[in-house]
């Protein structure tokens, strides 16, 4: 899965979904996660980055990552990768 190309994140963490008209605000942690997914990083790379730079345990990170992807998917901000 990847973030749809028309979803933009502003410097303040504001996201607008042009398809649905919905808007959201991400906290700094969410912004970092959004940025890494947008860059196309693999799950393992994102996990390693968070474990290294945030005070997070692997099991908690795993759950938070899944929640984040689930939330982004339910708000129609994700789409399958070309190879999927």
């Amino acid at each position: 899965m990847k973030i749809k190309s028309n979803i933009a994140l502003s410097e303040s963490g504001f996201i607008f979904n042009p398809n649905t008209g919905e808007s959201f605000t991400l906290n700094p942690t969410g912004q970092t996660m959004f940025g890494l997914i947008r860059e196309g990083k693999e799950y393992s790379e994102i996990r390693d980055y968070f474990l290294e730079n945030f005070d997070a345990e692997e099991s908690i990170f795993e759950k938070d990552f899944e929640d984040f992807i689930h939330m982004m998917t339910s708000y129609q901000m994700m789409e399958p990768d070309e190879q999927e």
Partner: protein
């Protein structure tokens, strides 16, 4: 370079909590770069705010209510035409559309042009006919039943379960959770807008609207979908944002091409949990939020005037996504003499 002068009469200058689109239509016409519009306001009541917006409206005439009949309306239009030499009329109220559609040829013979749906199109999309309309054109429409007596509600609820929407034939809709509530709304709405009342299955979801314009040949001239962001207790959008949902545009194209819709319209849509759209209503006229469409690059009132006058209009190809409108109520200070003039003489 001088622009062509056109004289356009516009109705719906009211601005209560369910505002008319007239003032926004006029703003669009005044912003046209292709013609210089002289605006004749047509008002039903002497307290319609557009009457007093002298920078937008050049002259105002009071007109009889549609309930007074076609002849009464035509007599008044003939008088106004003799004074103002109208080129185009843009009627903006549901209730007045039928008499104007009926008078289209008569007005045309006087040199007054309009861009309205045909009588067949107007009737087909009536709320009471909407289920058949959906079947005919392959558009998802919530189940609905027309009722003319309060006693019929109980039987109708065997088909449509609570909660359900109780809707007036022109305006108004309330969600009823019980039989008692449904009867109460039936009486309230029917006393205002007449019969029948429509009971419609309640679809839970997010409200979206599309404003559009068809050329009568099956082509889309304009279409802008919005998500309602701020909804009043009358269900009216007080704030909205333009969106780029291809599904809504495809549905709009299907509507225009299959019906060969002529004129402006508004599609009221509900997006359900599975991201499917149900068509709740088709309003055969410009909605009050038309100025958002103008603001994102589709001046629909201007296009209506050109099409009505027989000019070729290239379809709008794009619009700005993510632009919002936020409505504001503005208190004007009005001289009593202006109020007196319109109230006494029916002209200002």
């Amino acid at each position: 370079m001088s622009r062509n002068k056109v004289t356009v009469a516009v109705t719906a200058l009211n601005a209560i909590d369910s505002p008319g689109p007239g003032v926004s239509v006029i703003r669009g016409l005044k912003e046209s770069e292709d013609f210089d519009a002289r605006i004749i306001g047509l008002a039903y009541e002497s307290l319609e705010p557009g009457i007093y917006m002298r920078d937008l409206v050049d002259k105002v005439y009071q007109v009889p209510y549609p309930s007074a009949g076609v002849e009464s309306l035509m007599a008044r239009i003939e008088y106004i035409h003799s004074k103002e030499n109208l080129d185009v009329i843009i009627p903006n109220f549901d209730a007045e559309l039928f008499p104007f559609i009926k008078s289209e040829n008569r007005l045309k013979s006087m040199g007054i042009h309009m861009l309205l749906p045909t009588e067949k199109q107007f009737e087909e999309r009536q709320k009471i006919n909407l289920p058949d309309f959906g079947k005919k054109y392959g558009i998802s429409v919530p189940e609905s039943v027309p009722v003319s007596y309060a006693d019929e509600i109980y039987k109708a609820t065997e088909k449509i379960k609570f909660p359900l929407l109780v809707k007036g034939k022109f305006y108004d809709a309330q969600i009823a959770f019980t039989l008692e509530q449904a009867k109460e709304y039936f009486n309230k709405i029917s006393s205002k807008w007449g019969l029948p009342i429509i009971l419609q299955k309640y679809v839970k979801g997010i409200e979206y609207n599309v404003i559009g314009l068809g050329d009568g040949k099956g082509n889309r001239i304009a279409a802008v979908p919005i998500r309602k962001q701020y909804i009043t207790d009358k269900g009216k959008a007080w704030g909205g944002i333009s969106v780029g949902d291809e599904k809504m545009l495809a549905l709009t194209d299907q509507f225009i091409s299959s019906t060969r819709w002529r004129g402006p319209f508004e599609l009221e849509l509900m997006k359900d949990e599975k991201n499917g759209f149900s068509l709740l209503e088709i309003n055969p006229r410009i909605p009050a939020w038309v100025y958002l469409a103008i603001g994102v690059g589709q001046n629909i009132p201007e296009a209506i005037v050109k099409l009505a006058l027989g000019e070729t209009v290239e379809p709008f190809k794009s619009y700005e996504i993510g632009k919002m409108f936020i409505r504001y109520a503005w208190d004007m200070i009005v001289d009593l003499k202006d109020y007196q003039q319109i109230s006494t003489y029916g002209e200002l």
